[in-house]
Chain length 79, copies 2
């Protein structure tokens, strides 16, 4: 069972993105998760971590919900 | 700054309720929060905790998003 964090920039208005990613992950992987957290950040941050490991960072890659779900999958499914 | 947990029953299909509560809380109180978490549970659980303190339990009260937001407010706003 895994724990996921989505750290998002509150002043940037990234809440909708964070909720979209969270919902997509929960619909696919809830049975493999203990917990998924939204972590309030600033300075443009948008990072997704699975068990502390960064699987998506907006600073490095374009935002795409389906892509993020694909990156999460190998860390949580079939464990 | 506060931390909120929403523990919801996964097999009951309470994800939509959990997301609705989380979104409402984030829209109102994100500036007062460090983190808000969905915690996967079962056996019909739907509990909202602020800093570990239960402010809503479906076992005791009817589910109502606005009511839950009202219960969260005094624990987080104006601190």
């Amino acid at each position: 069972m895994s724990t996921i964090e989505i750290e998002y920039c509150v002043p940037c208005g990234f809440l909708d993105r964070a909720l979209a990613v969270e919902e997509a992950i929960c619909r696919q992987f809830a049975d493999h998760l203990n917990r998924i957290s939204l972590v309030m950040g600033d300075h443009g941050v948008f990072i997704v971590r699975v068990d502390g490991e960064v699987v998506f960072d907006k600073a490095d890659d374009d935002f795409d919900v389906d892509d993020i779900v694909r990156r999460v999958r190998p860390h949580v499914a079939g464990r």
